[in-house]
Amino acid sequence: MKIKNIVILVLVLSWTGCEDYLDQTPGQGITGDEVFSNFESMRGYLDNCYRALLDIHSWNSQLLSRTSINALSDEAGTLFSGQLNRQINTGAWFDRPGMGEIGWDSDRTGNFNASVLDNAFYALRITNTVLEQVAETGFLSTEQREQLIGQAYFFRGWYYFQIILRLGGMPIFDRAYTSDEDLDFERLSYHQSHAFVVANMDSAFKYLPHVWDDLQYGRATKGAALAVKSMAALYDASPLMQNDISSVEIRDYDIERCITAAQYANDVLEYIAQGAGGARYRLMSGDEYQNIFYHDDILASDESIWYNMDAGSRGQSRGLRVHYIPQRYAGGSGNDAASFNAPTQNIVDKFEVINGGQAYPIDHPSSGYDPQDPYANRDPRFYNNVIVPGERWSTGQGGTDLYMEMYIGGRDWTLVINNNHTRNREATGYVCKKFWWEGADVARRLYNLNSLNTIYIRVAQVYLDYAEAMNEAYGPNGTGDGLTLTAVDAINIIRNRVGMPNVLTEFTASKEAFRERIRNERAVELMYENHRWHDLRRWMIAEQVFSQPIRGIRATPPAGHQGVADKSTLDFTYQVVTLSTEVRVFERRHHWYPVPADDVQNLLNFAQNPGW
């Protein structure tokens, strides 16, 4: 009887609950409805746009491993054998998933080191979703609402600009599309696309605050919206952008658009001068020059208008070691210590020589430039940016001076040519110190002494943009409707603040002659700030620039140099060499990146760029 009861119980138990037990509440994550019924989580969703911002100082920015984006152009050479120099610089750009700047990846989208284009499309969808959700919800306060839509418009404009400046005109992406919609877009011209950037920045300007409180400092502001609009306008006026989507031909600036660009830049400068709402942007002085880029214990440098503050979460030490610090200073033996990105002779030659109160290009007959004493009397920014062979740099643990021995037989040099991470590449002979302060090395480990943001737009750039647009619109010394500052004035402001004399008058006579100096000034002032590459493209001079080899310096010290304590006193013999491992293949079609093959084939009306 007892057994029978147990038997019945067991049999009954095993048949129960058959419909219920799969109905557990899933304990993972939060649903879409929850996200969009709460200000913090909506903002948290929008804040992915900050995370997706490019950070050029990250160790693996844009999946370029340890290569700086600057090694795309003629500014930098790299000792890291990776996809940038092995593939991107060989011009093989078509269908390159996982190829950083020129290609795609999809597995890191949304992270600061993913491809900039992938992140841009990803962020566009976020901004569109947020704008749609905000329009539908009623619970937000006016301030919350304006914060959200102001930033959403800003990012929609910014990321859209990042796409079109690389790929050319695009359809307008102003909705969060779903996969059952007809997505067969047709591409618009660059100018039509540019109008979308301007419209978004105008909306952003309307809703964004002048400044954020200290806790939220680093978010986009009215000033940032104005500055992006100005930068985008200069691009819109540039030669490359005068092509329609089916052509890439060498063209001129569009004068009307140059006038607009100059006006927008002037708006920024006026806004800065007003200091509206407590905004404290300013052109920093020559004494503070290095602290434009890194600085201790302030929110962001006053010259930074639009920048990636979140970059602080990248692991600053690794980024510094990978990009800028040679192995002996970095310590360790791995890749992170062995692959730095160094200035080329090409960029070094752009720094002018000061001779008798005037500044000359090095090939100017009056420059007095001596190839065997090449680093004398150069533009002060040269000494801020570049470490030359034998230069004293930093102090060791016991307070002894350290010297950069990037010369033949020097210790830094020996490490480069013996280390099997680097021995198949050729060093330029220089080291970049623009973002590397003394003490950030294995001896003193002050890697986190300063904050190092990735700056997209700073005040000096606005002057340079203004000068470029003014020169094209009105000539070097012309003024326009409400535009009282001439192109020459704007350039001299940038030069004078670091102690550089005015541009030689012989260069300010014609638009064409001064154009060259503006471009040189831009290369010098914005060195290593991820501008040069895009400037070469939009000016359409990349083919010409890359037809020249990338060069480096070989400094040979006198015999017995090991015994000399102060390496800066060594009497080097200098030889400029061509770096055979620094190849740059750039043809006409490379001005626009190839649209991903998948998209072109998926979308019948979506045109591929010419030549791809």
């Binding site: 095993s14 993972q28 996200v35 992406f173 939220q216 680093g218 033996s333």
Partner: protein, 1028 residues
């Protein structure tokens, strides 16, 4: 000396087992009569049918289940037995007969009653959830082998014993180190084209099988068609491998012990160049790249005269030779004890398996103990309790490095990378002490700061402990007293799997020696410290994992025969849940089936099943769905029109169709948009204010439905020529639709990146093919032999696939088999400058003379991503197993050959692709160089990544079809040798004896064996089995 110790250990084990046997054998056993002292008699017996015709090939079992003989063509056999033992006679086409000699005396002839062919209890085919069918009435496709047959393959991983054994099952080996190299199993090819894994079920519950030993297995069955799989529910559509463990049988008492010892030897190993050859070729590579040679003539001389592994300036380390040995022991001992009477049946199996790794230093050791007990006890006349328990305890001890890490070092550390030890008298560095051990200074390089000797010898250790416990408790109730023919059964199961890894990780100090010249001009060596000393003061838990299975199965069955009509109804319900640490969502599903079978006159069988499947992978409302399967079998040989065909003993046609749901390859929580609060955006002073970000994890789709598998099976099976020829052929056609895919390629990324796409019921794959098995068995006097072959041929096709609609048809994957390999079409090497300039431009990376030329398929003047096409396939179109069994008197010989046909592989691991700063294998000798080796067929060497050459192309593909002599057993059997043993069987076994293939340098089945991980082993063992 070491070897002797190992043998000693094995014998100690055997001794322990034998003494246990003796102990058990000498006490009265549960449910068994105490025997009088037994005297052996020789029994000559003839087995006949009711017409006095001899029955050949009848299996006569005596000795309480241990001794077995087959009758000859005259139906006669002779066996030694005792006067009071029990004979069990089994023959195909006859009912089994049990004769207690103590009561029946010594019969000279035994008359068997005829039975339906494949219709008796012996012909039971196990189906999921405790159901079964006779082979005669089976409408579907199920093939099997026995555990006994698998014992011939000495191996620590159960999957690996299955290759070539079962029709329809494809077993593909992998290289993954000691005890981890579990072969991948496929049933009837690739039914989904990705995520094709089958499930393995042990005694009714989905469980891992890699730790099983063949000795505890009664039967392994492979369920292939819809009517069989539908019973196992939502995870079964890819196929089910069903393992049934041994249970006690009535009237038997088996006590059996077995021990074997042997050696495993690597088969094919990659060869690498020595320092002198490496340095010479590296210089050549530098010059090919337009750079100056790196090693001077003096260096090359130094390498040529190197003093070996510790040459301070010119080391020459043969890593294979120094760190690997060419034999490793295999030990196994098992003990089986089973039996029963009509009330109680029991089975106990114990096993020990011991294997070791090939590393000479910190040799990995794995020891496993298996204990399994199955018990069926009648509690009352109508109620039987079922108790099943299984425990597996395994320990693995090795150095800090896993085997793949060791092989990674071996294949990447160049022979001249570093001297193993720094033995420079002038060396000034830290003398490191790790524990009691003094660690000498070790060499290293910037590229490889770690030193393999240091990591193995001074790097610490790791230890794995596995504890698996599996239990099942159930009741079988005959409800005949209420309704005749009604019975019920319920089994609850609970498994626990624990893995714990402890270890201590130490980092020895290494130095790179930089040889330079001092200011005064003399040579000096600077030591650059690469690795700092790191010591853990104790062992740490390095990883752990716990998994749990719970579930139950219930059956309610009703059977009724009315005249010539046999009805049976089964209502079955099961629930299965698997919880594994770290997994996002538990596997949880349920299946309720209603199965109706009908038999007419034992020749026509019909079957229909409705299944109500449930899975937690779908949104509420879509969690449950109905699926049907139907089948029919017709025994043609019973029909009068075939009665005249004497040669044909049995012939059956069968057909089945079913529509199954599948949830086994669906991601977790795909049924709703899901966000997480994760990570932050940083603002404020020095980015100290982290604001939480909300991220979209998946743009989930609430409308997701079940993946569907529509399957047809058509088969014919039979027996002919006096039951000597047995055959079965099946045709199958499966269509898998509604495969859940995140169709990222179908939708443009410009609309918003990957989060824009929702998972959808999107993909469709069809898979068809045929399989067959033929077996011939013959007795010629004392010589018996059987020969059998089984094969499966399959090819699938992607009907709907997530891809971009490429304009060039050859780029498309849709309409092709899912295993097709895509690559470029090589036109050989560029051998002259003119060839390079005339050819279309190749856009992969720098190239020139000595590099691979590719065909420009679309004639656009460029070779790029648009010039790839299908150039082979990675899954064998046909897999084959051939078995030969020879018995002559006491000798037995078993041979198993296995084969894959119609399969290609790329030669693309680091052995074949020598690039950059990597190690050079012996293939580099054949490199092309215009002057040094103009006849070379390997691309010119380079210090770059070689992006032009090292990509999948026809240059690297090879037909990897192979035939392997997989397994051999030679045995010698003595019966009734004395008072203690009834049977004594000596055997020698061998595995992987040779392989024939066009892929002839590394193993064609596992080219990564020996490169990325352990090599393929050839194992030779010898041993003895004793039956008491």
């Amino acid at each position: 000396m070491e070897l002797i110790l190992k043998i000693h250990k094995t014998f100690l084990c055997l001794f322990l087992i034998l003494s246990t046997c003796y102990f058990i054998g000498s006490v009265p056993t549960f449910g068994q009569k105490k025997k009088d002292k037994e005297e052996l008699v020789i029994l000559n017996v003839k087995i006949v049918d009711k017409n006095e015709n001899p029955v050949s090939n009848a299996l006569v079992t005596t000795g309480e289940g241990i001794l077995q003989v087959l009758t000859n063509d005259e139906g006669e056999c002779a066996l030694e037995t005792t006067a009071n033992s029990v004979l069990i006679i089994e023959a195909r086409g006859y009912e089994s007969m049990t004769i207690d000699l103590g009561q029946a005396g010594m019969p000279e002839t035994i008359t068997l009653n005829e039975a339906l062919i494949f219709g008796s209890d012996r012909d039971r085919v196990n189906l999921p959830t405790g159901l079964s069918a006779t082979r005669r009435s089976l409408v579907g496709a199920v093939s099997s082998t026995t555990g006994e047959e698998l014992t011939t393959y000495p191996e620590a991983v159960f999957q690996n014993t299955l290759q070539g054994r079962i029709m329809g099952l494809t077993v593909r080996n992998i290289a993954s180190g000691l005890g981890n190299n579990t072969a991948s199993l496929f049933i009837r090819g690739l039914s989904r084209g990705g995520g094709d894994a089958i499930i393995t079920v042990v005694d009714g519950v989905e469980r891992p099988i890699n730790f099983l030993i063949a000795e505890e297995v009664e039967k392994v069955e492979v369920l292939k068609d819809a009517t069989a799989k539908i019973l196992y529910g939502p995870r079964a559509a890819n196929g089910v491998l069903l393992v049934t463990t041994k249970r006690g049988r009535q009237n038997t008492r088996i006590i059996k012990a077995s021990a074997q010892y042997g050696t495993s030897m690597p088969t094919r190993m990659p060869g690498y160049l020595n320092s002198a050859e490496y340095a010479t070729l590296y210089n050549e590579a530098r010059m090919n790249d337009g750079m100056s040679p790196f090693y001077s003539a003096e260096d090359l001389d130094g390498y040529r005269n190197s003093s070996g592994v510790n040459d301070q300036r010119y080391p020459d380390v043969d890593f294979n030779d120094y760190f690997l040995r060419n034999h490793t022991p295999f030990r196994k001992a098992t003990f089986e004890y089973s039996g029963g009477n009509s009330e109680t049946q029991y089975a106990l199996v114990l096993g020990y398996t011991g294997i070791e790794g090939v590393e000479t230093i910190s040799t990995p050791v794995e020891d496993r103990f298996n204990i399994r007990g199955n018990l069926d006890v009648a509690i009352s006349p109508a109620v039987t309790a079922i108790v099943q328990g299984n425990a597996i305890i395994e320990t693995r001890e090795w150095g800090r490095l896993h085997q793949d890490q060791v092989f990674n070092a071996i294949r990447t550390h160049r022979p001249n990378e570093y001297p193993l030890l720094i033995q420079d008298p002038d060396f000034v560095g830290i003398e490191a002490e790790v524990g009691d051990e003094v660690v000498p200074p070790l060499g290293g390089s910037f590229r490889h700061p770690n030193n393999l000797l240091g990591d193995l010898q001074y790097g610490g250790f790791s230890e794995y402990n596995y504890f698996f416990g599996q239990t099942a408790l159930g009741l079988d109730v005959d409800l005949g007293q209420f309704v005749e023919g009604l019975s019920a059964r319920s089994i609850f199961s609970f498994d626990n799997y624990q893995i714990l890894q402890n270890g201590q990780s130490l980092t020895p100090i290494t130095y790179d020696a930089l040889h330079t010249t001092t200011p005064s001009g003399s040579d000096t060596t600077l030591y650059f410290n690469l690795q700092k000393r790191q010591i853990q003061d104790r062992q740490f838990r390095q990883s752990d994992n716990i998994a749990r299975n719970t579930g139950w199965t219930s059956n309610l069955s009703y059977a009724k025969n009315i005249d010539r009509h046999a009805f049976r109804v089964d209502l079955t319900h099961f629930y299965y849940r698997n919880e594994t640490g770290q997994r996002l969502q538990d596997i949880e599903n349920t299946n309720t089936t209603f199965r109706l079978t009908y038999g007419l006159k034992d020749k026509l069988y019909l079957e229909g099943t409705m299944a109500y499947m449930g899975s937690n992978r779908f949104a509420e409302g879509n969690r449950f769905d109905w699926f049907p399967a139907v089948g029919a079998a017709w025994v043609l040989s019973e029909e009068s029109f075939l009665a005249g065909v004497k040669a044909l003993d049995f012939l059956k046609l069968k057909a089945s169709y079913g529509l199954l749901g599948y949830d086994g390859a669906i991601g977790y929580y795909l049924y709703e948009p899901r966000f997480v609060n994760d990570g932050s955006a940083q603002f404020g002073i020095r980015n100290q204010n982290g604001v939480v970000r909300t991220q979209l994890v998946v743009n989930g789709n609430p409308d997701l439905e079940w993946e569907r598998s529509q399957e047809i099976n058509l088969g014919i099976e039979g027996l002919a020529l006096g039951n000597q020829l047995q055959f079965e052929f099946n045709y199958f056609n499966e269509n898998r639709s509604d495969i859940i895919v995140l169709a990222q390629n179908t939708y443009s990324t410009v609309a918003g990146g990957e989060t824009f796409v929702m998972p959808e019921n999107f993909g469709e794959v069809s898979n068809r093919g045929f399989e067959g098995a033929v077996n011939w068995l013959q007795n010629i006097g004392q010589f018996q032999y059987s020969v059998g072959v089984n094969f499966v041929h399959s090819k699938n096709k992607r009907e709907v696939f997530d891809e971009v609609p490429h304009e060039d048809e050859y780029l498309r994957r849709t309409g092709r088999a899912s295993d097709e390999l895509f690559g470029w079409v090589s036109q050989g090497l560029f051998r002259e400058e003119g060839e390079v300039s005339d050819a279309p431009r190749q856009l992969f990376g720098e190239y020139g003379v000595g590099d691979i030329a590719y065909e420009d398929l679309n004639n656009d003047g460029l070779v790029d991503g648009r010039d790839e096409r299908s150039i082979g396939n990675s899954f064998p179109r046909t897999t084959l197993g051939v078995q030969l069994n020879l018995n002559y008197k006491r000798f037995g010989l078993f041979l198993l050959g296995t084969s894959e046909l119609g399969v290609d592989r790329f030669r693309n691991n680091s052995y074949y692709w020598n690039t950059g700063e990597g190690k050079y294998s012996e293939v580099a000798r054949d490199r092309f160089h215009p002057t040094n080796n103009p006849g070379g067929s390997y691309p010119a060497l380079t210090t770059t990544n070689g992006l032009n050459n090292f990509r999948n192309s026809t240059f690297w593909i090879e037909d990897a079809s192979f035939f392997r002599l997989k397994n051999v057993e030679l045995s010698y059997t003595l019966t009734n040798t004395g008072w203690l043993t009834k049977q004594l069987r000596f055997f020698a076994r061998g595995t992987n004896l040779f392989v024939l293939s066009a892929f002839d340098d590394l193993d064609p089945e596992v080219p990564n064996a020996g490169v990325l991980n352990y090599p393929m082993f050839r194992t030779i063992t010898g041993g003895v089995t004793v039956g008491f």
